[in-house]
């Protein structure tokens, strides 16, 4: 089978507007979770979000394009531009354009940002609306815009599996390149859940922390929602070497599973099936895995479940694996989480630095793994796994391998 490598990354999150800023904050262990600045949630029970600060869409898009673009599209498209530029990839021939895939993930697309539309429709009884509400909100908008901007004709689609969306997207893209459906793929995800209505629905689920996000910590009290987008460019090793492209790391395995259990209460069996699936798909020995970027939402339910799942998949080696949840810094970005955390994992392998779990205070006996606490760890690991486990019990894990 063909080998697949990552040659470009792009990211926008609460940790900055590009990959350079993200890396700096990530390795410094700085949490971007702060009191909401762009949305008034003063009457909600929580105040912190992982908000993108300083992004001006007018710097990135022509005025005539703006009515067609939701904020989730801004992040998806701009992160894709950064990843494509970073990779140095260009598409000259029809064959190259046909043999490139675009697969994006998002939980809600632009649906979460329809507050103003519904207020005008139902409360203000307004009758006139712009004709762009549908193309703005549709979940596949980002994939379509990336295709149009770059003239890419190959398989282009969007996956929506809640918090696993972009891990499923990256995994499907990896398999598509590995088996030869395409030679290159642009994969990632974006999400913008920070509208008042959407934040209220999360409050109702009682899973959002009134404090901050402290994954695997004994006093953890829930997740913090974040917004952002991330994209990676992957291609065959042959293609990357031919182009002389800089290789970040290799993508080696992808595992997926369903809990077949409960809509919101996760199962360690299901999560373990996805993790083991990725390891087996990669033909890795469990001992080769030295770092896991955990799903690590910081909820009471997830973190012990994930600890148990890792133990089921790795046995005694579980205690040797360094674990962190970078959601403690960029927040839970739902459908973008897999992509943002893939970038964190890729940077960890590339730079031999494992990002920490920020806001960590006290170990929890129920989460007795080697959690990297508050400060990054200088360590070059051979392979790493990034986990995403969604509401609905849909799990996706991706395995990456150091390239040196």
């Amino acid at each position: 089978m063909r080998r697949v490598v990552v040659t470009g990354i792009g990211i926008i999150s609460a940790l900055g507007l590009n990959a350079g800023e993200f890396r700096k904050e990530l390795f410094a262990g700085k949490s971007g979770l702060k009191d909401a600045a762009n949305v008034d949630i003063s009457d909600l029970k929580y105040s912190k979000v992982g908000e993108v600060i300083g992004f001006d869409e007018k710097e990135h898009f022509e005025k005539k394009m703006l009515p067609f673009l939701d904020r989730f599209s801004h992040f998806g498209i701009v992160s894709a531009r950064e990843a494509i530029k970073d990779s140095g990839m260009t598409w000259e021939t029809d064959t190259e354009r046909e043999r490139t895939a675009i697969i994006t993930g998002t939980g809600a697309g632009g649906q979460g940002n329809l507050d103003d539309f519904y207020i005008d429709l139902f409360c203000n009884k307004k009758t006139r609306f712009p004709p762009t509400v549908v193309p703005r909100a549709m979940s596949n908008a980002v994939a379509s815009h990336i295709s149009m901007e770059n003239g890419i004709y190959g398989p282009t689609y969007t996956i929506t599996t809640a918090c696993s969306s972009s891990n499923h997207a990256i995994g499907q893209a990896f398999h598509s390149v590995r088996i030869g459906t395409v030679d290159c793929a642009i994969a990632g995800g974006s999400e913008t859940p920070l509208s008042y209505g959407n934040l209220k629905t999360w409050e109702c689920m009682r899973v959002v922390s009134q404090d901050t996000c402290r994954p695997f910590s004994k006093d953890r009290s829930g997740m913090i929602l974040g917004e952002g987008g991330a994209t990676i460019v992957m291609e065959t090793l042959e293609s990357a070497e031919k182009r002389g492209a800089e290789i970040y790391c290799e993508i080696v395995g992808f595992g997926m599973s369903a809990d077949a259990h409960h809509l919101t209460n996760p199962s360690s069996d299901g999560a373990s099936r996805a993790i083991s699936g990725a390891i087996n798909d990669a033909k890795l020995n469990p001992e080769q895995v030295g770092y896991i970027n955990a799903h690590g939402t910081g909820t009471q339910a997830n973190d012990p479940m994930e600890t148990e799942a890792i133990k089921k998949s790795f046995g005694e080696h579980a205690e040797n694996i360094a674990i962190s949840s970078t959601k403690s810094m960029h927040g839970h970005t739902l459908g973008a989480a897999g992509a943002i955390e893939a970038v964190a994992t890729i940077l960890a392998l590339k730079h031999g630095t494992l990002p920490p779990t920020a806001n960590f205070t006290e170990p929890d006996p129920k989460c007795d793994l080697d959690v990297i606490q508050n400060e990054a760890r200088e360590k070059q690991v051979e392979a790493a796994v990034s986990n995403s486990f969604a509401f609905g019990g849909l799990n996706a894990s991706v395995a990456f391998k150091n390239w040196r």
């Binding site: 005025k63 006139r128 004709p131």
Partner: protein, 98 residues
């Protein structure tokens, strides 16, 4: 054609297409402005907001030039002033392209 309405339409079109107002006349066609169907829908929406009218779906496709747009808008304003809003509310149901 009322100069006032024409000027307001041209100002909106110029702003929307980011073109100087003096490059747009009543003879300018939407094709010349490189407007696709969704562009045109967006522009109609902005004109509806500006003049507080509702352009029926079947009238949208009839507006091929800026002059026709101004004439249509003036007629709609006139009908509205006469209180004849029933016809304007009848917007048909075949606007979707997919």
């Amino acid at each position: 054609m009322s100069k006032n309405t024409a000027d307001r339409v041209i100002a909106i079109v110029a702003d929307y297409k980011e073109k100087p107002e003096d490059e747009i006349t009543s003879e300018t066609t939407l094709d010349e402005l490189e407007m696709d169907s969704l562009d045109a829908m967006n522009l109609i929406f902005e004109l509806e907001e500006e003049f507080d009218i509702e352009v029926p779906d079947d009238k949208v496709t009839e507006m091929k030039t800026i002059g026709e747009m101004v004439e249509g808008i003036e007629k709609l304003i006139e009908l509205k002033e006469k209180g004849e809003t029933v016809e304007l509310a009848d917007t048909g149901s075949n606007a979707s392209e997919g």
